[in-house]
Symmetry: C2
C-alpha cells in the first residue's frame, strides 16, 4: 500500500484525487488546500486540511499546484521523510531542492474544470535522483497508467513545449475555425469528425505523412481564394504564415 498526500485544489489535484482514491494499493491520507471551500471535491472531508503545520505521514506528497507556487509551498515540506513531487511539465526538480527526497510525477494531459479523466492511457513522466524513490514513483504511476516513463528535467520541459504546440496551439486553430464558422452562420459541429480524424490518423502515420491541404499541394489558386475570403487581418496573417511553413516543409515552390 502506497500512502499519498495531495496538495492543491485545482483541476490536476481533483483529477489525481479521483484517480488515486480508486487505484489499487494506494491510500490517500490527506488533501491539503489553503482555501477550505475549494476542498469540497474530497469525498471524505475528515482527510482535508488547510493547515500546513498538520501534515500527516505518507510515502509520497504530491504538489498539484500552480508552477509559481511550487518552491514556496515546498518550504512546508522541508522536514517530511516521504518523497515530495510536483506535477508540472515546465518546472525543474531543483525547485524542490529543500526537500529530503525531491521527485517529479507529471501526468501529460490537459485537465479541464468539471471534466474527469481516466488515467490509464495518460503517460506519467517521473524523475528522481534516487533509484529507490524512482521505483516507488514508478509503482505509484503504474497504479494509474499503462505508460510510466522516466524523463530528466530537460526532456520533460522539452516535452512540455511540444505539448503546447499539439494541445494549446491546436486548440487555438480550433478557435479560429469556430470563429470563421460563426461569422458565416455555419455550425462548428460539422468540423468535429474532421478534427477527430486529424487526431486519429497519428495512430498509424506520422504528422509529416498525414499533411494534406492546399499548402501541401502547392495549390496557389485555392490559397489565393482563401485569402480573399478571410476578412480578419490576424487570421490572414496566420493563414499565410502557416501555409508558407507547410509549403516550405513539403518542398513546394513559394
Amino acid at each position: 500500500m502506497i500512502s499519498v498526500v495531495i496538495v492543491g485544489t485545482g483541476n490536476v489535484a481533483q483529477n489525481l484525487f479521483n484517480a488515486l482514491e480508486k487505484a489499487n494499493d494506494v491510500s490517500v491520507k490527506q488533501v491539503i488546500g489553503r482555501n477550505p471551500q475549494k476542498l469540497a471535491f474530497v469525498t471524505d472531508q475528515a482527510i482535508t486540511s488547510s493547515n500546513f503545520e498538520k501534515i500527516v505521514a505518507a510515502d509520497i506528497y504530491i504538489l498539484a499546484i500552480s508552477d509559481d507556487a511550487i518552491s514556496v509551498v515546498a518550504q512546508n515540506f522541508k522536514n517530511i521523510d516521504g518523497i515530495l513531487v510536483h506535477t508540472s511539465g515546465a518546472t525543474s526538480i531543483d525547485e524542490l531542492s529543500t526537500a529530503k527526497r525531491p521527485g517529479i510525477f507529471y501526468p501529460l494531459q490537459t485537465f479541464t474544470k468539471d471534466r474527469i479523466i481516466t488515467f490509464n492511457e495518460i503517460p506519467i513522466c517521473i524523475e528522481s535522483p534516487n533509484e529507490d524513490d524512482l521505483e516507488l514513483l514508478k509503482k505509484l504511476g503504474n497504479t494509474l497508467s499503462n505508460t510510466v516513463v522516466e524523463l530528466d528535467s530537460d526532456q520533460r520541459k522539452t516535452l512540455h513545449v511540444a505539448a503546447v504546440f499539439v494541445n494549446n496551439f491546436t486548440n487555438y486553430m480550433y478557435t479560429v475555425g469556430a470563429e470563421i464558422c460563426s461569422e458565416h452562420q455555419i455550425d462548428f459541429k460539422l468540423l468535429q469528425p474532421l478534427i477527430k480524424e486529424t487526431a486519429s490518423k497519428l495512430d498509424k502515420i506520422t504528422p509529416l505523412e498525414a499533411q494534406t491541404g492546399p499548402a501541401k499541394r502547392g495549390d496557389q489558386k485555392t490559397l489565393h481564394n482563401h485569402l480573399q475570403l478571410i476578412k480578419d487581418k490576424h487570421q490572414r496573417e496566420l493563414y499565410t504564415l502557416l501555409s508558407n511553413a507547410i509549403k516550405e516543409k513539403h518542398g513546394k515552390e513559394l
Copy 2:
C-alpha cells in the same frame, strides 16, 4: 435505387467507391479514370472505363477529381441527363455551368491514401439550384451519412477555410511537436493521448472554453523559459505569434 457514376481515382474517389458500393439503394454503374492502372481499386473491373465517350446512363455523376480538373473534365458531361456534382470544398458550383443539372456533393473529411473511412459521421454538404435534384442528392447523402447539410457555395468555401485551420494547420502543429520530440530523443507517441483529448473536449465545450496553457494564463515565466528551449528560429516565431494571439484573445496583458 440511385444509380451513380464516379469519375476519379484518388483518395476521395476510392473512399466514395468503397462506401457507395456497400450502401443500400445505390448502384455504382461505372468508375471512370484516365489512367486504367489507377482503377485497380474497383472490385468489378467490368464497370471501369478510361473513355469519356462511353459514359453510361446514371442518376448522379460524381467528379471526385482535383479542383483544377473540374471545369475541364465537366466538358465531357455536357449532354448527360443526370446530375453532375463535384466533391470539392473550395470550388464554386459555377465550374459545372456547362452541365444540364449541376450540383455539389462535398464530404467534409480528410482522405488519406490507404486509409478507408466510414462515412456515417462525415457531414456531406450538398448544393443544387433545383429542388428535386437537391432532394436526390440528399437521398444519396443519407445512404452514407447521418449528417447531410445544404450549404451554398459561399458557405461551403468558408467551411473549407475553417477546415484548413482545424485540419491542415492543426496537423502542422503536430508536425512541429514531433520535430521537437525527435530533436530531444523523446517518443512523440507520448503526446497522442493529449492530442486525442484536445480533440474530444470539443464534444462538450467550445474551443474558447477549452483553451489552457501558459499563454492563456499569462504565465510569462513559462513563456520565457519555452522560448529559451526552442532553438529553431521558425518554431520560435510561431510560438511567439500564437502565444500572443492566445493572450490577446483571452484578455491578458501583452
